[in-house]
């Protein structure tokens, strides 16, 4: 393929640039547009079926519905599930604004389950509160958002691009001013000038190699390769909790959710090989994952999702959900293996590691306004550090980011874009095309991600993590020599560089936190104790401007705004008053 000159590029302008048209990104675009901003969505797939909701979602995991639960319960639940290391103000937003979001989604046409009294049919999966709300027609959720983006009032404000992939955020004087990327079909070079940038690029879900060995057989949508984590890092933003990996209990080999959240309310549950329950709470936490791993590796393994005891009609209902939404090929998979839920329980296993704040607590550091530490740069969704934020949290933070970014962009200048950064990004994108005979991406990526498994999978130790750092440093050379022949291959090659960045961040963060915490997520076999005296704090990582290497800072845990019954803060910092007035969303005032 022909490599374009640096000067031979398409230039785009907007008030608010949204990177990623998934859950958070589409909502960010809708809100920014309704606040008068001109919005550009850069989407490397197709907005209609991109991101974690490519084929919809079976329900929401964290809707705090008035009368069914309280924001205080939810914030306390999530605080405990994260061993106390949270910024409660961020969680409080999801707790108090989630219900308005449910109603907003309903106004767009998304349906949520209601009982015979026309009340939301929330179910209990968390330790104390009921926040799980099924979406009977959840497979349509992205269709509904897409339709909204193309509606008469919105489309004049929002430009959606497909197959356009950013690789770097541009900064001037430490402020985000745009992005640089390319068209993954034509290879065209693209720059964007923006008043504000919202990163909503999903999890780092293509990090560990699935046990199947298939590069794209990941739990997360494999297009979510950690692009946002890497772009935020290179733009100078702080990331936090990167040592708190995402690991999930899934259908073995298929690698999709089983899913206990769907099946539990119907009477399904997880058992070990002896047919006994082994977790006391099905909520996905690091503690639960430690219990799952222990069971798998014991003589009581394997583990199963047990449905076979349920009546036929109930199983049909569960199949109706599991085989049509989120991962609809579950039915195909079970059919191929001869697994019928009626007579055979579903074998489960644990996933490869990833980074995702939607499920655990590793992401780009944001405050309760979705602001990162870089002015003009926002993050929302799975890549933004709001613990266990799931789909409702992604929508809420997309909304918050869209509003705040539109305001920021209104008074933001559009300085001349930095040519040195554009040239560096051009090199990152097109270098593999100048060496078409270099090792192909699938081989380089397989090797990189096998090292992730070898050295980063918990339980972690200093020796293995250090070998990981060495391996990821060494992979820089492999990546520099990688070859590509088409724009599509350039996309995959750029993703490999993101995966490498995330792997190094994961290894170094895990080395830095010299204690064990969050159950399996950060289990250090060489330091098995939790060390509250030294480590009751956030561990934030950023790019050192002087050395261009990774540097760390500890951030104290902000005073709690919601009391956590039964949890004593080890640092003794007293709770602060709960937020009031404008800080509290409408439904709860």
């Amino acid at each position: 393929m022909q490599i374009p000159e640096v000067s031979d590029r398409r230039h785009l302008e907007c008030d608010v640039l949204v990177v990623g048209g998934g859950t958070a990104g589409t909502m960010a675009a809708l809100t920014a547009a309704s606040n008068g901003a001109s919005v550009l969505i850069m989407e490397k797939a197709h907005v209609r079926h991109s991101g974690a909701l490519a084929m919809g979602m079976d329900g929401v995991n964290n809707a705090v519905v008035p009368g069914k639960a309280t924001p205080e319960d939810y914030v306390a639940d999530i605080t405990v599930a994260n061993d106390g290391i949270v910024n409660q103000r961020t969680i409080y937003q999801t707790a108090t604004r989630g219900f308005e979001m449910v109603q907003r989604l309903e106004s767009y046409g998304v349906k949520f389950e209601k009982d015979e009294h026309d009340e939301y049919a929330v179910r209990k999966v968390h330790r104390s509160g009921s926040y799980v709300l099924p979406m009977p027609e959840g497979k349509e959720v992205k269709k509904v958002l897409y339709r909204e983006l193309r509606s008469r009032n919105v489309r004049s404000h929002v430009t959606m691009t497909n197959r356009l992939m950013p690789v770097r955020i541009l900064t001037v004087d430490g402020r985000a001013v745009g992005a640089v990327g390319f068209d993954t079909r034509t290879g065209e070079f693209v720059t964007v000038s923006a008043g504000a940038v919202i990163l909503a690029a999903g999890a780092a879900g293509r990090l560990g190699l699935p046990a199947s060995g298939y590069l794209y057989g990941t739990y997360e949508n494999p297009t979510n390769a950690g692009d946002g984590y890497a772009m935020a890092y290179h733009a100078g933003a702080e990331l936090s909790g990167i040592e708190c990996f995402q690991i999930n209990p899934l259908i073995k080999d298929y690698n999709g959710p089983a899913c206990a959240y769907v099946a539990n309310p119907f009477g399904g549950y997880q058992v070990n090989g002896e047919g006994n329950r082994f977790v006391d709470c099905d909520y996905w936490s690091g503690q639960m994952m430690a219990e799952v791993k222990r069971e798998l590796e014991s003589s009581r393994g394997p583990i199963y999702l047990k449905l076979s005891h349920l009546p036929d009609a109930t199983i049909s209902e569960i199949e109706g959900i599991l085989h049509t939404t989120e991962r609809p090929t579950r039915g195909t998979f079970h059919e191929g293996r001869g697994t019928n839920y009626r007579d055979r329980d579903i074998e489960m296993h644990i996933s490869e590691i990833g980074l995702c704040s939607g499920h655990s607590a590793s992401g780009v550091w944001v405050d309760e306004h979705a602001r990162t530490t870089v002015p003009g740069l926002y993050a929302a969704g799975d890549m933004a550090l709001v613990p266990h934020n799931y789909m409702i949290g992604a929508f809420v933070y997309g909304d918050i980011a869209g509003e705040d970014a539109a305001t920021f962009a209104r008074s933001a200048s559009h300085p001349e874009l930095p040519e040195d950064q554009i040239e560096a990004a051009h090199e990152l994108i097109y270098r593999p095309a100048s060496n078409p005979d270099g090792p192909p991406q699938p081989q380089v990526e397989y090797k990189l991600r096998r090292f992730v498994n070898d050295y980063l999978q918990p339980p972690k130790t200093e020796r293995y993590l250090s070998l990981g750092v060495e391996a990821f440093e060494r992979m820089r050379t492999d990546i520099a020599q990688m070859g590509a022949r088409t724009p599509h291959e350039l996309m995959r090659c750029a993703e490999v560089s993101f995966i490498r960045d995330c792997a190094e961040m994961a290894a170094r963060s895990s080395l830095e936190r010299t204690e064990s915490r969050w159950g399996l997520y950060h289990a250090r076999d060489d330091i098995p104790q939790q060390d509250d005296a030294s480590w009751f704090c956030h561990l934030n990582l950023s790019k050192d401007p002087a050395t261009a290497g990774m540097t760390f800072a500890r951030r104290p845990v902000a005073p709690y705004i919601v009391p956590v019954p039964g949890f004593v803060r080890p640092d003794g910092v007293p709770d602060a008053l709960a937020p009031q007035g404008v800080e509290l969303a409408e439904a709860w005032r």
Partner: protein, 75 residues
């Protein structure tokens, strides 16, 4: 660098009898951009073995020409 071509069992299969000339819906929708139109036949095909077996290609096909199989390594 030496090269070899090796066969791969790809998960997405297109029924060329059914596939409509000029239609690109499955190609447009694939999150991984793994489908393309074969210029010789005018029909869609999987041009790279990159698949999340998610299914928009099959769900959006107006003539049921697309089958998503589970990738061989997982099957």
């Amino acid at each position: 660098m030496a090269h070899a071509t090796s066969r791969s069992d790809v998960p997405v299969v297109i029924d060329e009898e059914k596939c409509i000339d000029g239609c690109t819906l499955c190609v447009d929708m694939c999150p991984l951009d793994s489908l393309a139109i074969n210029p010789d036949s005018g029909k869609a095909y999987m041009h790279v073995d990159e698949c999340w077996y998610c299914g928009p290609c099959a769900a959006r096909c107006p003539v049921d020409a697309v089958t998503v199989n589970i990738p061989y390594l997982l099957r």
